[in-house]
């Protein structure tokens, strides 16, 4: 339950040959607490840069990032970050990896392992606690990374194309799993995963927004963005990328990702956003600037 606000944020880099390069220009938007926002844009437009600033791994050249209305300095301690690349520690077992956030904050090893076991079960890795990351498939490593992030239960979840390296079907499963975790009420760490799949009766608006994490999800895949998010923000092609469109996604929750992509409402949304994104993708092809993730 954390809100994050970009206030006129710009970020400059220096190119290898010493010229200044403005990656992001004058970006302003707010992600309210408990909502799921996807950021799409052509590759190299600075999406990851934006996320790194939200994490506090990078500082803005101008403007500021505010977390729960407080200007962010240093690392964002209310956020976890799921990276595009493998970020598990290869020399630790899956169990130790999942428990890492707890052990770092001083939780006793036994307790940390007990809680890690719960999370391993929840992401379907109960039998793989003693394996090393290199012994797992790409999809399993992503599950482990998800558990590693969720176990420390912070209000804001930053995700940088987390599933882009996976094949289409594994990806769909992972997206489903993400939504299941996110839509499940009670982030206290004891919710059963099945709860998120229940349909009908309770309106999601009644219980969910109070306990849900805030998610900022970066992707270049518009379908993924619409399928997952409450709001899609489209960035322009770089350099000087800026926000070109914001679109509410009014699809009902919980969503069935297996069916969603063929529903008329989804297709309408896709068409409306693709018109905007298509322009930017075309533009990014024309400008032969060095790409930045």
């Amino acid at each position: 339950m954390t809100s994050i606000e970009f206030d006129r944020v710009s970020r400059d880099f220096t190119t290898p040959d010493g010229r200044p390069y403005r990656a992001l220009d004058d970006i302003s938007f707010t992600v309210s607490a408990g909502s799921f926002v996807a950021i799409v844009g052509p590759s190299g437009c600075g999406k990851s840069t934006l996320l790194n600033m939200a994490a506090g791994l990078l500082t803005p050249s101008c403007g500021s990032v505010r977390v729960d209305a407080v200007v962010l300095t240093g690392l964002n301690r209310r956020a976890t970050y799921m990276f595009q690349q493998d970020a598990l520690l290869p020399w630790k077992t899956v169990r130790d990896n999942v428990a890492l956030g707890l052990t770092l904050s001083g939780v006793a090893r036994r307790d940390a392992h007990a809680r890690a076991a719960v999370w391993l079960g929840r992401v379907g890795l109960a039998a793989f606690g003693d394996h090393y990351p290199a012994q797992l498939s790409g999809g399993m490593r992503k599950r482990a990374a998800m558990a590693q992030n969720w176990i420390i239960d912070r209000g804001l979840l930053l995700m940088d194309e987390p599933f882009s390296a996976l094949d289409v079907h594994t990806r769909l499963l992972m997206e489903t799993e993400l939504l299941t975790l996110w839509e499940a009420p009670a982030a206290s760490g004891v919710a059963r995963p099945s709860q998120g799949r229940e349909r009908g009766a309770e309106s999601p608006a009644l219980h969910a927004p109070r306990s849900r994490k805030t998610v900022v999800f970066v992707t270049h895949d518009l379908e993924e963005a619409i399928a997952l998010a409450d709001e899609v923000i489209v960035l322009s092609a770089g350099p000087s990328a800026h926000v070109v469109a914001r679109h509410q996604v009014t699809l009902e929750r919980p969503r069935d990702l297996m069916e969603l992509r063929t529903s008329p409402a989804f297709i309408d949304l896709y068409r409306a956003l693709w018109v905007v994104l298509r322009e930017e993708v075309a533009r990014s092809q024309r400008t032969a600037e060095p790409t930045r993730g």
């Binding site: 994490a55 791994l57 690392l75 964002n76 301690r77 956020a79 976890t80 970050y81 990276f83 690349q85 493998d86 970020a87 598990l88 520690l89 290869p90 020399w91 630790k92 077992t93 890492l100 956030g101 770092l104 904050s105 090393y132 990351p133 290199a134 012994q135 590693q148 420390i152």
Partner: protein, 252 residues
Amino acid sequence: MAERRGEILAWRVLVGVAWLTLWQALVSLKILDPFFVSRPTDIARRVNDWVVGGTIWRHLATTLEESLLGLVIGSAMGISLGFALGRSPVAARVFDPYIKMLNAVPRVVLAPLFLLWFGLGIWSKVALAVTLVFFVMFFNTYQGVRDADRVVVDNVRMLGATERQLVRHVLIPSALTWIFSSLQTSLGFAMVGAVVGEYLGSTRGLGYVISQAEGTFDTTGVFAGMTVLGVVVVIVSAGVTRLERWLLRWKV
């Protein structure tokens, strides 16, 4: 792999036997003069005499002691400095030319100095081994720390690690893979340092045995000394390989 292991062992033995047979044959056929190159059977007999007579053990023990001390001290120094400079790019740039300069000094030149400073005992040899091991360990640790995966570092920082936790959970394990891959080289260097040191001035050790033999044009003694040294290196490095495999077991 398993079925190939026997095959490889067979080839290994074959190569060794072929080499020794060729050597022996060339000497027997008087193509080579045994005064200069000895002959395998003589060398084997000499090694056997040393082992059975027990004269070799105290020399071997001395050389191993010096090598081990050199390895431990050199590693400790190299790893610490590698870490310090790996974490501090500014200091790394300051020290860079000096480290390169020192590394370029031929160690043989240092040996007489060390004899002067540390005497004829084991410490002058340990010092020589240290100068060799230090640089291998330093460069590898430095590289290992610099080479730590940026994403893993960022991930661990986001998960709440302090600087010290970052060093312990990421930088040390990351550098360890580099350090271990250089351990074989370092071990070899430590023994070279010890033996060269002994060779240039000592009262015991394999280097001393070899230099005594050379002093009397006893080529059999020289080759026998080299044989003992070689066998010991192979045995010790097999042990290191096993240790390495265990410590880096997460690398599938």
